[in-house]
Amino acid sequence: MTLFSDTLSEDSERGLLERLHIDWPLLLGILVLCACGLAILFSATEQSTGQVERQIFRLGLALGVMILIAQIHPEHLRRWSPLLFLLGVTMLVAVAMTGEIGKGAQRWLNLGVLRFQPSELLKLAVPMMLAWFFSGGTLPPSLPRILVGVIITAVPVLLIAQQPDLGTALMVTSAALVVLFMAGLSWRLIAVLGGLAAGGAPVLWYLMHDYQRQRVLTFLDPQSDPLGAGYHIIQSQIAIGSGGIYGKGWFHGTQSHLEFLPERSTDFIFAVLGEEFGLVGILVVLAVYLFIIFRGLYIAVHAHNSFSRLLGGAITMVFFVYLFVNTGMVVGLLPVVGVPLPLISYGGTSLVTIMAGFGILMSIQTSKYSQSR
């Protein structure tokens, strides 16, 4: 567990990484995962150098964002939280009114040269806002403050859900729940919330779009629609199962290379990993994920104030939710929700958000040193 102690950093001279406000165990985990991801992507895209190059470019960009954000002191982040939140909600309203149609859903805001998905911003802005709000009072929070917190969450979540972007709405909600939980929500209230959620499910069902209902139904019985949505689940399970313990080898996954497996470079890339590298490969990758998650939780526990603690904990656990929802979907434990495998799936939008989150974690961790000096 030497990785989780900061004696090394405190005793040695301030190295380059520290001066750049970089937490090296976290960076190491991220880089290892990205490297694994590129290797899998190279195979999943039939060795398309073009796509891999684009992904490397995106990774570089996202890492740049991470380093940039790591330079911002958590105290500044705290002060900006309400502003960032208001900005995000304003943009969501703007999207609802003027947004470009993308994938049959309104998600994008066109800023001239740049198209931007404001719901991504909310994945960070909501936990920041809640951490700001709860850290301003006693913890655990009183019931009225919890209700305010629920309202803070509900406004953007409803706006995102009506776009409709169920995946993102789910991620933002889970971020809020994590903050509430870590703020010390009493078990009795947790039970009440759980009850409400169970009661709300039928309402949610009523509000869902047809294609979303279809996904849930297909999840419950994939065989019912083997050519439609169920095709994804069946094919991904065949891919993973046929990989066995040691896998079929790099570039030798028949499921992915004969194009049976849809979305193999994006949402279902985990199945390619399972087919080509087997259980062993998956366990190695999951271990790296777990390492990153535990490092994040460690940073949160050792943070200096409740804002940093709540935010750090939320960012880390949202990363975990990403991982769980995606892998759960691919192995057939959870319904098909459009959530990518963090740091590995092809695509850039959520990558930047995730890396920005890591930037905040690094800022929390490294500012501790500068304070103690």
Partner: protein
């Protein structure tokens, strides 16, 4: 820190640590569930799934829909789909690609452009996708390859339906074009709806009606062997073709206008004042949209993009010009409607106008002055001083409100991608953009359609149509009907219109009469287009060119030519029962009366005189206009 005194930082931290540990445990439990599931799949049922994967012989392949066709008002086909054959190499199946290409080039003509495109596309495709090395093979070339195909494993002929625009350059700006889907578009579209489709509407009608034209993708279930070759089709769900569009456009008129505009830069828009339907929309110079369908070569594209004449630029909907004197009938009507003047009121023109208390002289184009004029005289002779005075009397707010009613200063909302909205200057606009207050002198300049005031040819034609029909502004539209090719069901589009508030038919008639005198009067600025067959009402305009941009590498003669004034003309005919309203802009054409008006006359003649015996209406099209 509102409740700071109740804070118990240590207790908080302890509570938090407990919660974090719980969270970590939950994470481990959840991942353990995933791992358990993986063990179930990969250890205990591995054999089962391995068999399934080896027997996995059934693949679902998309069947792309046929793109909807586009017809003109007389059912002449404007956008077709034609089979095109390309020669493809599957890089994953060829050992030495360079050598294969060399061997192919001895059989079929393959030039450097083809090789470059192949290299470029190869990077965008997966290894087992076909990448085109030659497009558009002739029948002979196909036959020649077929004979030798055994020598080329991994090389195949690929057939697909490609968009073809039979009228080429004549319809490029009005239809727009399709092109290969790029990465940006990829993010916007539903990938499964576009599975198997390689093209998408890029601009114009092709883009605006993408959803209707595209159709619905079908799927087929095919059995393949272990090497991925298709053995037979097991089941299929056929695609649904995209819907056909029937335009208001008259291709004969469109072509006549292209001929009349040959060698000129500018735009012509003709609108049916009874429906708002766009009869013709021309922007010259044009380009051949067919070049873009299957990927334009870099050389061709650079030539088009860098041409000083900007052929890719759709002047009809994106060109923004000062309306100049063509705005005068509208402002004259505004003066009458607001009660600022009556038909009998005279205003004196002494060659210039001065604002009270200012020394600056706002000059009339006629230095010696027009003397005392009524509004009719002022429109006919295009007197500037009259309209300076009128604009000054009305004030900018009333002026703006009235002009906005004619659609100036805002996008028309036409069913066409990427139009611009022009600019109707207002005090708020100036405050916002320039950060300065509005000066009274600027009101005068708006009164003669110069200064910051900008309109698109489309806006000008739509406003002229509203003048022609005495006050009903129709939102211009391209498509009159959407037709489902499989069921034959036709859905006609509906006109969107509003009334322009002017009390009294006499005021409309008076301004229309003045516009008639522009053509028919002895002092009319467009008297050269007078004719006995059709009575035309019109108004000339001459817009000053202030800037020309990017002059560095052009020679002086060209620059001088491009500094000349733009020539404008708006017209409608026949006056008694207008069937066509038209706006003509000839860049650097100098005078509206001598350059633009004769073109408008040709447009009107073409539409009203040269027309064939009444053609059969397109099926289902309702009886509008003609």
């Amino acid at each position: 820190m509102l409740d700071a005194k109740f804070n118990d930082p240590r207790g908080e931290a302890r509570l938090f640590t407990r919660r974090v540990i719980l969270s970590g445990l939950v994470a481990i439990l959840c991942l353990a569930a995933v791992v358990a599931r993986l063990v179930y799949l990969q250890v205990f049922n591995s054999e089962h799934y391995r068999t399934l994967s080896e027997d996995n012989r059934v693949r679902v392949e998309p069947l792309p829909p046929m793109r909807g066709l586009i017809y003109d008002r007389n059912n002449v086909l404007l956008a077709d789909n034609v089979p095109s054959y390309s020669l493809q190499i599957i890089p994953g199946k060829v050992d030495d690609i360079a050598q294969t290409i060399d061997a192919l080039s001895r059989l079929i003509n393959i030039n450097d452009v083809d090789r470059q495109r192949f290299e470029r596309l190869r990077r965008q495709h997966r290894r087992f996708d076909g990448v085109p090395i030659r497009l558009d093979l002739s029948d002979t070339e196909r036959a020649r390859f077929a004979v030798h195909s055994h020598r080329f494993p991994g090389v195949q002929i690929h057939a697909e339906l490609l968009r073809y625009y039979p009228f080429g350059v004549d319809t490029s700006h009005v239809l727009g074009y399709v092109g290969r889907i790029n990465e940006r578009e990829m993010e916007r579209i539903d990938p499964s709806a576009y599975a198997g489709t390689s093209h998408i509407g890029k601009i114009g009608i092709e883009k605006a009606y993408e959803d209707a034209l595209h159709g619905k993708v079908g799927f087929q279930q095919v059995e393949i062997n272990a090497r991925g070759r298709v053995l037979r089709t097991l089941e299929e769900q056929l695609p649904t073709s995209g819907e056909d569009l029937v335009l208001f456009l008259d291709i004969d008129l469109q072509q006549d206008i292209m001929r009349a505009m040959a060698g000129k830069r500018g735009a012509v828009v003709a609108i049916d004042p009874n429906s708002g339907g766009v009869l013709a929309m021309v922007s010259t110079p044009g380009f051949d949209a067919n070049l873009f369908v299957d990927g334009i070569s870099v050389k061709d594209y650079v030539a088009l993009r860098d041409s000083i004449d900007k052929p890719l630029y759709n002047r009809a909907v994106r060109g923004q010009y000062p309306p100049a004197s063509t705005i005068k009938p509208f402002i004259g009507l505004g003066g009458l409607a607001s009660g600022a003047i009556s038909f009998r009121d005279g205003k004196y023109c002494g060659g210039y106008f001065q604002l009270p208390g200012h020394s600056h002289r706002y000059r009339c184009w006629k230095r010696s002055g027009h003397g005392t004029l009524t509004v009719t005289d002022a429109v006919v002779q295009s007197c500037d001083v009259f309209f300076y005075r009128l604009a000054h009397d009305m004030g900018i707010e009333r002026l703006d409100r009235f002009l906005a009613d004619f659609g100036f200063g805002a996008k028309t909302g036409i069913d066409f991608a990427d139009e611009l909205g022009g600019l109707l200057p207002t005090p708020e606009w100036k405050e916002r953009v320039r950060g300065r207050p509005w000066y009274p002198g600027e009101t005068l300049i708006v009164g003669i359609g110069q200064g910051a005031f900008l309109v698109t040819p489309l806006q000008l034609a739509a406003a002229t149509a509203a003048m022609a029909n005495h006050g009903t502004y129709f939102q211009p539209r391209m498509v009159q009907a959407v037709r489902d090719p499989s069921t034959g069901l036709v859905h006609t589009t509906e006109a969107v219109s509003h009334r322009i508030a002017v009390d009294g038919e006499a005021k409309w008639q008076g301004i229309v009469d003045a516009m008639a005198l522009v053509v028919e009067g002895s002092r009319g600025t467009a008297r050269r287009i007078r004719n006995r067959l059709i009575r035309i009402a019109g108004k000339t305009g001459t817009a000053q060119v202030f800037t020309i941009g990017q002059t560095e590498r052009y020679n002086e003669a060209q620059v001088a030519e491009r500094m000349r004034d733009h020539a404008l003309f708006i017209a409608f005919a026949p006056i008694e029962a207008p069937q066509i309203a038209v706006a003509v802009i000839v860049e650097n054409g100098r005078h509206g009366g001598s350059t633009a008006a004769p073109i408008a006359r040709q447009v009107i003649d073409s539409y009203l005189l040269k027309r064939r015996v009444e053609p059969p209406p397109p099926p289902g099209a309702d009886a509008d206009g003609d």
